[in-house]
């Protein structure tokens, strides 16, 4: 799926970069051709666009966000932005947790992983916010398990942690108007699931990998 970059996507990326004055630091790795899953903290609508725009243009065309279906399907414009402009992979969020039957939960979970794995294909990368929702930016929420299952499913794909700093002050959840403060995006060292590592241990380690990249007011 290298359909090229939608002009609106490039425009929004330029605007987001301007508003967020973002400085990008590749602290643990360099931009690379290989397939990756970038996973980051989530506190603003700008998060995805800023992270995406920080990649070199040739990588951008092959990097897709994972987005919550329930939110992005709510309004026609949102859906258009998600689907047509950014080629987002729209997934059911927390569907597995909603159902009572463990078997059904397993099935729904499997479907989610299959969907993401399919989006990865043989040459794409993904951007994932494992908290599953936007937080206040003060504390990193618990990570959902999708990252773990996807990592097991595709061990060949690199898992790159990233921290987006200050975007919660630029465009916090629930606000419509941005305040143009400066922000920072730090890419960390790739991690992987260790031999026989338990799900919760891995998710905590992944969370720590993101949290450790925070530079101002490390909490």
């Amino acid at each position: 799926m290298s359909a090229g970059i939608h002009p609106v996507a490039s425009l929004l990326a330029a605007i987001a970069r301007g508003i967020s004055g973002v400085q990008v630091q590749w602290a643990g790795c360099e931009p690379d051709e290989r397939q990756r899953i970038y996973f980051a903290n989530h506190s603003s609508h700008l998060d995805f666009v800023v992270l995406w725009s920080a990649l070199p243009p040739d990588l951008r065309a092959r990097t897709r966000p994972i987005a919550a279906k329930d939110y992005w399907e709510q309004r026609p414009l949102r859906l258009y932005l998600a689907k047509n402009v950014f080629h987002a992979v729209l997934v059911e969020r927390g569907a597995a947790a909603k159902t009572q039957h463990p078997e059904e939960a397993h099935f729904v979970g499997r479907h989610l992983i299959d969907q993401m794995a399919e989006a990865l294909g043989s040459e794409n990368s993904l951007i994932l916010f494992p908290e599953g929702t936007r937080g206040t930016g003060e504390k990193l929420g618990p990570f959902r398990s999708g990252l773990y299952h996807l990592a097991l499913h595709r061990p060949d794909v690199e898992l790159v942690p990233a921290y987006l700093e200050n975007l919660n002050r630029i465009l916090p959840k629930g606000e419509f108007l941005p305040v143009p403060m400066l922000s920072l995006l730090t890419f960390g060292k790739p991690i992987q699931v260790e031999q026989s590592e338990h799900k919760d241990d891995f998710l905590e380690r992944a969370r720590e990998a993101v949290a450790s990249l925070r530079r101002i007011g490390n909490a």
Binding site: G21, Q23, T136, N166, R169, P172, E175, L177, P178, V179, P180, M181, L182
Partner: protein, 318 residues
């Protein structure tokens, strides 16, 4: 309009002087670089050369902008205000409840300030931020409903708007003064202010590096020494005095104005250093290579510009 500057031969001479200074300092920087020894002096010299490179760029941007007349100067300083306030608000702790107030500060109050100068509405531009914004900011924060650290937040935001937008906007406002017998030459006043103010910074730095021993306020700014202060202020005042021919001032008046610019420039730098210590950072940003941030470069101008403006307006305009 663009080339109006070229018809003002005294303005051209001022620019030639700036160019000569840049060339000389570049040569000195390169000589020092070739002759350097030891790691400590190496980093100082690299920093010096980075500063000189940044000065070339800043001088070029300034010259081009001011060549477009008052509009160019307003746009340039409006942009500097924006960038400075951006650095300031990023580092000052604000809360979620300040969001809308901050939005207004950036996108309404600051542009309005420059617009008012553009349409030469002196009566409003002089009080818009000290009076209207002063009332607006705490009200708007109070309406948002978060009372935690309320007074600090309101004060910090108001201070930021005052320094970054209000104070600095008096520099381009110089271009709109109507000084009898000096019409059409206001660009020289702006250049005069910027040259004396920035040379005072530079010369204080140079004197401090050369013979600095006794710290002035080491808690606030460990690099400021009495030797640097006296040497820098004296030599920048001498330079400013020597530029009297480009201004409506007599040599003595020019000396007084230059001294005032230097002292207020020092005060501005000192206050901003105190704020940086308070927040716990060294520089406000990394936008200009070698200089820290924009705010670090213009802190001295913020205090000097409004007083320079009002002294001229009071004594020379009417």
């Amino acid at each position: 309009m663009m080339f109006a500057a070229l018809h003002d031969s005294k303005l051209v001479w001022l620019y030639c002087g700036v160019l000569a200074l840049l060339v000389i300092s570049t040569l000195i920087g390169q000589v020092l670089k070739a002759a350097r020894k030891g790691d400590a002096s190496r980093s100082t010299i690299d920093n010096l050369n980075a500063r000189i490179r940044a000065w070339w760029k800043m001088a070029a941007i300034f010259a081009v902008a001011v060549a477009f007349g008052p509009i160019g100067a307003l746009v340039l300083f409006g942009l500097i205000s924006f960038l400075a306030m951006r650095e300031y608000m990023t580092l000052v702790p604000t809360r979620r409840g300040d969001h809308l107030t901050l939005f207004w500060s950036f996108f309404v109050i600051m542009p309005l300030q420059y617009y008012l100068i553009g349409i030469q509405w002196y009566g409003f531009f002089a009080i818009m931020i000290p009076v209207f914004a002063f009332v607006f900011v705490p009200t708007s924060i109070a309406i948002a409903g978060d009372t935690e650290h309320f007074l600090e937040r309101a004060a910090k935001i108001q201070f930021g708007i005052m320094v970054c937008a209000y104070c600095l906007s008096h520099a381009p406002a110089l271009l709109l003064l109507h000084i009898p017998g000096f019409e059409g030459h206001d660009a020289r006043l702006l250049l005069y202010l910027v040259i004396v103010d920035q040379m005072s910074d530079v010369l204080q730095y140079v004197w401090g590096k050369l013979i600095g021993r006794h710290k002035i306020a080491w808690r606030v700014s460990p690099n400021k020494t009495w030797e640097g202060f006296v040497g820098g202020v004296a030599s920048a005042t001498a330079l400013g005095t020597a530029l009297w021919w480009a201004t409506p001032f007599t040599p003595l008046q020019s000396a007084g104005m230059s001294l005032m610019i230097c002292l207020l420039g020092f005060a501005g730098g000192l206050v901003m250093s105190a704020i940086k210590r308070d927040i716990g950072i060294k520089d406000f940003g990394v936008v200009i290579e070698g200089h820290g941030g924009i705010l670090d470069r213009i802190d001295s101008l913020c205090f000097a510009a409004p007083i320079f403006f009002h002294l001229i307006r009071y004594y020379f305009v009417r």
